[in-house]
């Protein structure tokens, strides 16, 4: 019977293709916007989270807000590495000073740290090398600059071995970083330099003891396990005050990011779903017209023995079929749109999201059922004598 109803529905749709297409238009637009929006957001999310995890998913950043007058010396922080077997530990402090070379001068952001930081952040050098442990121990005046700084201050010439004035102190450049691709594909447009932690203590008055440092867990340990170790030792060190410090886990950041994007997907999907509902109202509208026009057909079918249920099934299946054909067209259209956008912005790896296609099909079927029910029941309830008399 379902097969027969499908055949009948298909025939009815094929008899009036233009009308069927116009009926589907709302569903086509709804499904296309749903599938395209959700697919784009999903693909973008994936490339953003991939970037975040490539930055070191298991890195922990410790910040101390209240040292209880027992400041942590950088040596003490460095010692944690051997004490607890962390893969890397690096103290971190920043300061902004004026960089001056010849007649060029501008504000530069200095990051004072130890060589381990280069490995943690995955910094790669284009020229020269990173400063070493001896430079930290001897507070040598050396710096590694980003490529923008090298280009700005040395106008394309080789920067390695040159001297630059940072906050009034002459510092020798030992390395230049590679041109970096930021998270969203933009190169950094600011002056940045990495110098030994101890050197920054000399240059900047505000840097004394360690206020923050980054830690990479020991091999075979998760960020959460390392976080527990660090929490225990800092509680011990800071009079058991959990408010005196904070530890940020990179996994937490990735999770927060994913939840924000999840909410965004949900909202965009919701808006698209509303347009699908509007498409459903379009189906109901045309189906009601169609039922009125086909009153005589309904009368004839009833005269030869169609029951209430078979007429209901016929029109309901017609509505569902219209909705699903619209859905299929919408998915094809989405595929084309996502393909074109993907070709225009290859960095994001845009692709159709399979999950949302499933949702679109299920939702379209539901729209067909919900909005087809009323016209179908109207058709099924027609009195056969009156239906046969109608023109």
């Amino acid at each position: 019977m379902i097969l027969q109803s499908l055949k009948m529905a298909w025939k009815a749709i094929a008899t009036n293709k233009m009308r069927a297409f116009l009926t589907m238009l709302g569903v086509i637009i709804g499904v296309t916007s749903l599938v395209v929006l959700v697919s784009l957001v999903n693909s973008a999310t994936k490339s953003v989270t991939d970037t975040i995890s490539s930055l070191g998913n298991d890195m922990l950043t410790v910040s101390i807000s209240d040292n209880k007058d027992k400041p942590l010396a950088w040596q003490e922080v460095m010692a944690l590495q051997d004490q607890y077997g962390f893969a890397e530990v690096a103290p971190l402090a920043t300061a902004s000073v004026t960089a001056k070379k010849g007649s060029t001068s501008d504000t530069i952001r200095l990051t004072g740290t130890t060589p381990g930081y280069a490995a943690i952040q995955g910094l790669t050098l284009a020229y020269g090398s990173f400063f070493n442990v001896a430079d930290v121990n001897n507070n040598t005046y050396v710096a590694v600059v980003n490529s923008y700084t090298a280009q700005t201050l040395f106008a394309g010439g080789s920067a390695v071995g040159q001297t630059v004035s940072l906050g009034g102190v002459a510092v020798q450049i030992v390395g230049v970083l590679e041109d970096e691709e930021g998270v969203l594909g933009f190169n950094s447009q600011s002056l940045e330099a990495y110098i030994p932690y101890t050197t920054l203590m000399r240059i900047s008055d505000s840097v004394r003891e360690v206020g923050s440092f980054v830690v990479v867990p020991p091999a075979g340990q998760t960020a959460d396990q390392a976080q527990a170790t660090l929490t225990a030792l800092l509680l011990n060190r800071l009079d058991g005050d959990a408010e005196a410090f904070s530890i940020v886990n990179a996994t937490d950041i990735a999770n927060a990011m994913e939840s924000v994007i999840g909410t965004m997907t949900f909202m965009l999907g919701g808006i698209a779903a509303i347009s699908l509902l509007v498409g459903g109202i379009g189906i109901m509208n045309i189906m009601l017209v169609s039922v009125t026009e086909r009153t005589r057909e309904i009368g004839i079918r009833k005269a030869v023995g169609a029951s209430y249920a078979s007429i209901m099934a016929q029109f309901l299946i017609e509505a569902i079929l219209i909705s699903l054909i619209g859905c299929a067209i919408g998915i094809l259209l989405s595929w084309g749109i996502v393909f074109v956008i993907g070709a225009l912005a290859p960095a994001y790896n845009f692709g159709l999201s399979i999950g949302v296609i499933g949702i679109a099909v299920a939702f379209s079927a539901l729209v067909g059922i919900v909005f087809g029910s009323y016209p179908a029941s109207k058709a099924a309830h027609k009195n056969p004598v009156e239906a046969l008399r109608s023109a």
């Binding site: 019977m1 027969q4 025939k11 009815a12 008899t15 005589r296 057909e297 009368g299 004839i300 079918r301 009833k302 005269a303 030869v304 023995g305 169609a306 029951s307 209430y308 249920a309 078979s310 056969p384 004598v385 046969l388």
Partner: protein, 223 residues
């Protein structure tokens, strides 16, 4: 086969009640070929709709093959129309988007006959009405007489207990009318029960037994 006891049907038109059928009493035996004649508006179609279970009576008892139809549900009535009644209408009532064969097949689909059996049955009855060559034509591609034959084939295909024809020749010229009436004669000779409703005395004269209807009153015609 059919038994009507005091069957009435009323229509309320404003303040006035129209007695489309007024205490009709009659019966038809199995295998009879009965003509019902009456002027326009006398209640012929109303009677046929009740006999054919398209409509139910407001009063009285109607028994079809001994079964009281009065309390049947909509679904049960559809079932009776499908299995026991073969309708033939004045304006054929074929579905224009379907071919002759598909139109004939329709009642079998609602009867849930398997597809391969349907094909055989459809081709048998189209043969019987002489339209084997026209099975894939649509109604618009057929003459009035041919369309009425398709309608007869559609009535025939379920082997109903009762053929009900409402003005079957009303839209046809006299030559084609004669052909259709010959088909009815054949059906009658094969033992089928036929009720033909008409306002045309010549058509009624072909039948075995004649009844008259006037202002909703049904009576046996005096020969």
């Amino acid at each position: 086969m059919i038994q009507m006891i005091n069957v009435s049907k009323f229509y309320q038109m404003g303040d006035e009640t129209v007695h489309a059928l007024d205490h009709a009493n009659f019966s038809v035996a199995k295998g009879e070929y009965v003509g019902i004649v009456g002027p326009s508006g006398s209640g012929k179609s109303t009677l046929m709709n009740i006999i054919g279970c398209l409509d139910t009576a407001d009063e009285g008892e109607y028994l079809l093959e001994g079964q009281e139809i009065g309390n049947y549900s909509e679904t049960e009535l559809a079932h009776v129309r499908n299995r026991k009644i073969g309708f033939i209408f004045q304006d054929f009532n074929l579905l224009p988007q379907l071919s002759a064969a598909e139109n004939v097949e329709l009642p079998l689909i609602y009867k849930r006959v398997a597809a391969h059996e349907r094909r055989q049955m459809v081709s048998d009855v189209l043969d019987q009405v002489g339209l084997a060559q026209r099975k894939s034509h649509r109604p618009a591609e057929l003459s009035g007489g041919q369309q009425q034959r398709v309608a007869i084939a559609r009535a025939l295909v379920t082997s109903p207990s009762l053929f009900l024809a409402d003005e079957p020749t009303g839209a046809l010229d006299s030559k084609t009318s004669a052909e259709i009436l010959r088909l009815f004669d054949q059906l009658h000779q094969q033992g089928n029960t036929i009720l033909v409703i008409t306002h045309n005395e010549q058509v009624a004269d072909q039948t075995e037994r004649k009844m008259q209807i006037k202002d909703g009153h049904v009576m046996e015609a005096t020969a």
